[in-house]
Structures are given as structure tokens and as C-alpha cells.
């Protein structure tokens, strides 16, 4: 087991800089910190999405590591291809890592992700979840939560925002019997970086799902993204958990949750929500936690 990582002992080396992400971008923060854990030996694969768009603009490359843009549907496939290629060329322990957004993971890329986990190869897949297709201008994805307004699910006169619920990627991935899977948030950085370290140490496929607020898409100040990432865990709308050795584990199980309204009200995407919508969001949260507490705790 590697030592526990924290702000004091994490490397000062930077592997991701000079990129064109918006101020306060949760995904870029997650990526930057993940690379501090993974180090320069990691070969990165990124599909279309904000992180690829902001970091490979010829001739200004933002990655110090080896990095490749993949076809949108193919993050996991390219990642395992890189891994297989390196292994076939004689590298002992290649470290291949895919970074994809929520759309690139839960929608178009889910087949390749499923196939790659199924093959059982050692690779890390990190989903940076900003709950919409941001790079193409904030459209609904399979991970957009109930109630959120996006450009394809606007708060209209008839239908107010997104009426679907967030697909549960963490449990879908776990159902594959993956070696290691975890959820994380940029609001809890220590927890996040140590999970990435665990993924790095895992002897098989691993998946980390990181909650990554997006000021541009969410309609909030760039200075509050990290705070939103904390608040969403404290109010129970996002949970921190792991799946390892066939078992689920909850990392934070608060006795009481903070109310969800203050979190929602800080974001433009939820500003149309009515009292009844908020009550519904809370009741769905409670049902989920009842399941978690009954089954995982």
C-alpha cells in the first residue's frame, strides 16, 4: 500500500498547465490533481469533450504526459489499446488512463467502457462528471440530474428542465465485477486523490467517478465550484463510496443531511425549480440513502 496522500506530501510537479479551461472548471482541477497522483508515466486518452478541447490546441499542448485524443465513443478502447501496445512492446507495468466527461462515459462511451472492463485489463478510467455535454454547449446527458435546465432541456413553459434521473455509472461499473471503483468529488480532494492512488495500485481495471462542477454550464460563480463539490456530498445528493473485492463501502455516512435547497439555489440551472420539485429531489435522495444504508453499510 502506498502512503496516504494529502496536500503536504503531494508532488509540486505539474503535468497539466497552459490549458484553456474556464476559471473554476471542476474537470480541469480533477485532471490536474489526478495527474499529480499518476505521475509522468501515465499515458492519457481523452475523447472529445471540454478537457480534450482545451488542452490539445496545436501548437500549444497542455499535457506533459503522453496524451491522445480518442474517437468520442472510444476512450476505454484506446486506453486499453495503448496498454496492450506498451505491454506487447515489453513495458513491464504500463499505466494507461482514460479521462472522459459524463457524456463520453455514460452515453456514447459506455459500450467501449463495458467491453474494456470485461477484458479485465489493467487500466484506469476517470469520469469527470459535470452533468451535461459542456463542450457542445450544455446539452442534457445521461448524467444530467432531475430538474436541471440545459440547452436541450430548458425550463420551458410546459416542461421545466430535465425530467429524467441520473444514470448510476458507479453501480453499473461495479456490476461488471471491476477490480476497483469509487466515487469522488472535487469538494473532498484528499478522498479523491487517495482513491486515484488506489486505482493506480489496483491489479485490474479501475474506475473513478468524480463530481466536477462547471461554472459555465451550471450558472454559478467560478469561485464556488469546490464549495459546491463539498455541499453536494454534505446534502446527500452525491455520495462518496468504493467498490472493492466485490463489496460496496460508503466513505461518508452523515447522520443528518444539509438541506438541498441552498445548494440548488446557488446554480442558474436549478433556479426555476419550485418547492414541490425540491421536495421530490429530497425524497429521491432519501430513498437512495435508505438503499445504501441497508445494503452497503
Amino acid at each position: 500500500m502506498s502512503q496516504k496522500l494529502n496536500v503536504r506530501n503531494i508532488t509540486e510537479n505539474e503535468y497539466f498547465y497552459g490549458h484553456k479551461a474556464c476559471g473554476g472548471c471542476g474537470e480541469s482541477l480533477a485532471l490536474r490533481l489526478a495527474l499529480k497522483v499518476l505521475g509522468d508515466e501515465a499515458y492519457l486518452s481523452l475523447p472529445a469533450g471540454c478537457m480534450a478541447a482545451v488542452s490539445f490546441i496545436y501548437p500549444n499542448m497542455a499535457f506533459k504526459n503522453n496524451a491522445i485524443i480518442t474517437p468520442f465513443a472510444s476512450t476505454a478502447a484506446v486506453t486499453t489499446g495503448v496498454e496492450a501496445g506498451l505491454r506487447a512492446l515489453g513495458k513491464k507495468k504500463p499505466l494507461a488512463v482514460g479521462f472522459a466527461g459524463d457524456g463520453g462515459t455514460a452515453d456514447i462511451g459506455i459500450q467501449a467502457l463495458s467491453g474494456a472492463i470485461d477484458r479485465g485489463e489493467k487500466f484506469i478510467y476517470i469520469c469527470t462528471d459535470n452533468e451535461a455535454y459542456m463542450n457542445t454547449g450544455i446539452q442534457k446527458s445521461g448524467l444530467t440530474p432531475f430538474g436541471a435546465a440545459t440547452t436541450t432541456t430548458p425550463a420551458g413553459r410546459e416542461i421545466r428542465g430535465n425530467i429524467n434521473f441520473k444514470k448510476n455509472m458507479f453501480e453499473i461499473v461495479a456490476a461488471h465485477g471491476i477490480t476497483y471503483a469509487a466515487t469522488a468529488s472535487i469538494g473532498y480532494l484528499d478522498d479523491m486523490i487517495n482513491k486515484i492512488q488506489k486505482a493506480k495500485d489496483a491489479d485490474g481495471p479501475s474506475y473513478i467517478h468524480i463530481y466536477a462542477p462547471c461554472p459555465t454550464g451550471w450558472g454559478c460563480g467560478s469561485e464556488i465550484s469546490v464549495d459546491l463539490g463539498k455541499q453536494v456530498v454534505d446534502n446527500g445528493l452525491w455520495y462518496l463510496a468504493e467498490y472493492e473485492n466485490g463489496e460496496f463501502k460508503v466513505n461518508r455516512n452523515p447522520d443528518t443531511f444539509e438541506p438541498v435547497a441552498p445548494y440548488l439555489k446557488r446554480q442558474g440551472r436549478f433556479k426555476h425549480l419550485e418547492e414541490s420539485d425540491i421536495t421530490m429531489i429530497e425524497s429521491i435522495r432519501d430513498q437512495k440513502w435508505e438503499y445504501i444504508r441497508n445494503n452497503w453499510v
Binding site: 503522453n66 491522445i68 472510444s74 501496445g85
Partner: protein, 390 residues
């Protein structure tokens, strides 16, 4: 050398075995299946030491190939028809990133109507993908060209992916005697893949498949365009080396049969060439100066070679196993464009046939030739058999 009784799929598999790829990623589809099965067998038996990736789709087969090739691994995949269309998005990624991946495509009809038999509609969708496109006539050529394809793709002046096309069933499933070169000889012909500057490595970290804006993008495409043209000359050199070493030669990008004094000719791609060859012999016996042009390379398009071959012709019929709906056969379009460039006013006709595996009988080939003389059929573009049996 050692002789075996093989079908085209197996011949390609032996080519792959001898080429010793580092990674093979493939997904089954009729009529390519036997090729990937045979390669798996080689791997499972320990005859071929490579990473065989059992992917969940063709899109991933090409994506895995891109990943493997991006770190410098020699990489092979195979597909056909709907599978090729499914991976289509990935093809320009591979060529734009200048990755020397080799693929076999078993030419097959495109749905709908569903049909598993051979025609060349599938690969025509990939004509603009930046891949070198080769077509073979028989199983021996399939094996030999598979070996040449790796050398061609990996050549420093080319660095483009290559697809080797085999007509579905007619080539993939018929057996013939195939001579299998000794591994040591192949090693001498096809050395290990070079370490290129443009791939990812521990020594020189790289950003690959980058984005390039309005100003630079065209420059990248121009470089790629020029490199693809290089493939024609390099292919001819590789074939000469191959024939010196293995004693078999195929004539480069454009092969000709009885063309020396020919007045009329047919241009074919793939397996129909065999039938046309028989027809040419027969026409010659009847005193008609007929010849045959076998187009082996469709991208880059060998314009110059083609013009040399047709220089003294009075009439040419282009046989297309595909149709570009609402226009004409795709090879015909390409041939016409080449002729226009030379300013040569040659009588050219287009016969489209063999779609969905429809039989291409000897008499239809013959009447296509005869029409160049008799002009019974005034249509410049027509189907080999005008009867519609739908």
C-alpha cells in the same frame, strides 16, 4: 517454403502470423470471420506471440488499434461491410495520426436489403478516409500483399494505414494452393517496425490526435495527401523486392494482361479479374485484340500508370462492383477523371455488376467487351445484367 490448401481468409491469417504483429484487435463479421478465428488459433496455440484483444465492436477494434499503434506497436485488424461502416469514424483518426495499421476487409454488400455476399460497396465509403486501398485477386496474392502492406504502411515516406480488400466468399471462402514463405525469409523482407518520432513513448512524451485550427489544419492535410501519393512508388519498390526474394510478382498498382497490342480492354478490381482473363484469351482466339487491366490500388489512384497502359486503346470498359447511387460506378468516376487529365478522348463505358454476390457470368463479361466494338448498347453506364429481379 511450404504449400497449403487455404482459402483467402486463412491466407491473410498466415500473412499476419508471418508479419508478427504486436497487437490484433478484431470483431467477427461474415465473411471475414475465418481470418480472425485462424489468428486466434495461432495465438492460443502459442504460434503467434501477440496481444489479441477480444473487443466488443468494430468501433473499438479500430480504436484499440489506434491506441496500440500510437505507442509504436505493429497492429492488425480485420472487418467487412457493416463492421467497416461502424468503424468508419475511426479510420481518418488513424490516417490523420499517420498510424501504420493494417486491416483486411472482406468486401461485402451493405444493408439494406441485408445480404452477406460479396460486392465492393463497403470499401467505397472509406475512399476518402486517407487509407491506402489495395485489392487482391486470389489467396496467394492475399497472403503476399498482407506482408507487403505492413512494409508499405510502415515506410517512412508513407506512414499511412493500409486496407487489403478481398472479395467476400469468392476469395475469402474458396480454397487454393498457397505457398507459405519461411518465417526467416519474411523476417528479412519485413524487419521489425521502426521507432517513429511521432508516436508516444516514455522518452519523448507526445500529444497525439491533436486539434489544429483554421490556419494549420489544411497544412496537415496537405502533408498527408502528399504522403499518400508516395505510397504508389513505394509499393512498386516493395513488390520488386518481394519478387526478388520470393519469386512472385504482381505488377504494382496497375497490372496488365495482354495489353501490348490491345485495342479494347476491361478494367477490373478484385476477383472478377480471373473471369475477365479467360474472356480475353477467348477473344484473342477469335482475333479480337482484347486486353485486361487489373487495378490493384485505388488509393492513391495510380493515374500515371493507368494512362501509360491505356495509351493505345480505342475502347475501355470499367467493371464496377459498386454503384454510387444517382451517379455511376465509383471506379469509373476515378478512371474518367484520370483520362480527362491526360486529355485522351477514349471511348469509356461502365458496367456495374456482382452486387450482393450476383453471379458475374462469363458471357456478361464477354458482351461488355463486345459492346465496345458493336455498340449495341448505347448506355454509357449500365448494369451487367439489365434484368431486374427484385
Amino acid at each position: 517454403m511450404n504449400d497449403k490448401f487455404l482459402n483467402g481468409n486463412e491466407a491473410v491469417a498466415y500473412g499476419v502470423l508471418l508479419a508478427k504483429p504486436h497487437v490484433v484487435a478484431a470483431y467477427p463479421i461474415t465473411p471475414q470471420t475465418k481470418a480472425v478465428e485462424k489468428i486466434s488459433q495461432f495465438v492460443q496455440d502459442g504460434d503467434l506471440d501477440c496481444e489479441y484483444m477480444h473487443v466488443e465492436s468494430e468501433h473499438s477494434a479500430m480504436a484499440c488499434s489506434i491506441g496500440a499503434s500510437s505507442v509504436g506497436a505493429r497492429t492488425f485488424t480485420a472487418t467487412s461491410s457493416q463492421g467497416l461502416l461502424y468503424m468508419l469514424e475511426c479510420l481518418p483518426y488513424a490516417s490523420g495520426a499517420r498510424l501504420p495499421i493494417v486491416m483486411m476487409n472482406a468486401n461485402r454488400a451493405i444493408a439494406t436489403p441485408w445480404n452477406i455476399y460479396g460486392d465492393q460497396m463497403d470499401i467505397m465509403y472509406a475512399l476518402n478516409s486517407g487509407w491506402v486501398q489495395l485489392f487482391v485477386e486470389d489467396a496467394q496474392e492475399a497472403l503476399d500483399v498482407t506482408l507487403q502492406a505492413f512494409k508499405l504502411a510502415e515506410h517512412k515516406d508513407v506512414l499511412a494505414p493500409v486496407v487489403v480488400n478481398l472479395d467476400g466468399f469468392v476469395l475469402t471462402h474458396t480454397y487454393e494452393k498457397v505457398s507459405i514463405p519461411a518465417s526467416s525469409e519474411v523476417d528479412a523482407f519485413l524487419p521489425p517496425i521502426a521507432k517513429y518520432d511521432h508516436i508516444m513513448s516514455d522518452e519523448h512524451p507526445m500529444s497525439m490526435c491533436i486539434s489544429a485550427g483554421n490556419h494549420q489544419n489544411q497544412g496537415f492535410k496537405q502533408l498527408q495527401h502528399e504522403a499518400l501519393f508516395n505510397a504508389e512508388g513505394v509499393f512498386e519498390t516493395i513488390e520488386r523486392e518481394f519478387s526478388t526474394q520470393f519469386g512472385r510478382a504482381y505488377g504494382g498498382a496497375v497490372d496488365s494482361y495482354r495489353m501490348d497490342d490491345a485495342e479494347i480492354a476491361m478494367l477490373t478490381t478484385g476477383s472478377v479479374t480471373g473471369t475477365a482473363r479467360v474472356v480475353v484469351d477467348e477473344l484473342r482466339r477469335e482475333g479480337i485484340k482484347a486486353g485486361l487491366i487489373k487495378l490493384r490500388m485505388v488509393r492513391p489512384f495510380p493515374t500515371k500508370r493507368l494512362l501509360e497502359v491505356v495509351a493505345d486503346l480505342k475502347g475501355l470498359v470499367v467493371f464496377d462492383k459498386n454503384v454510387s447511387f444517382g451517379y455511376e460506378g465509383t471506379i469509373f468516376t476515378n478512371v474518367n477523371s484520370a483520362l480527362m487529365q491526360s486529355g485522351k478522348m477514349l471511348k469509356v463505358e461502365n458496367v456495374i455488376g456482382g452486387l450482393g454476390g450476383r453471379d458475374i457470368p462469363h458471357h456478361e463479361i464477354k458482351s461488355a467487351y463486345m459492346n465496345l466494338i458493336d455498340k449495341k448498347n448505347s448506355k454509357q453506364v449500365r448494369f451487367s445484367d439489365e434484368e431486374v429481379t427484385a
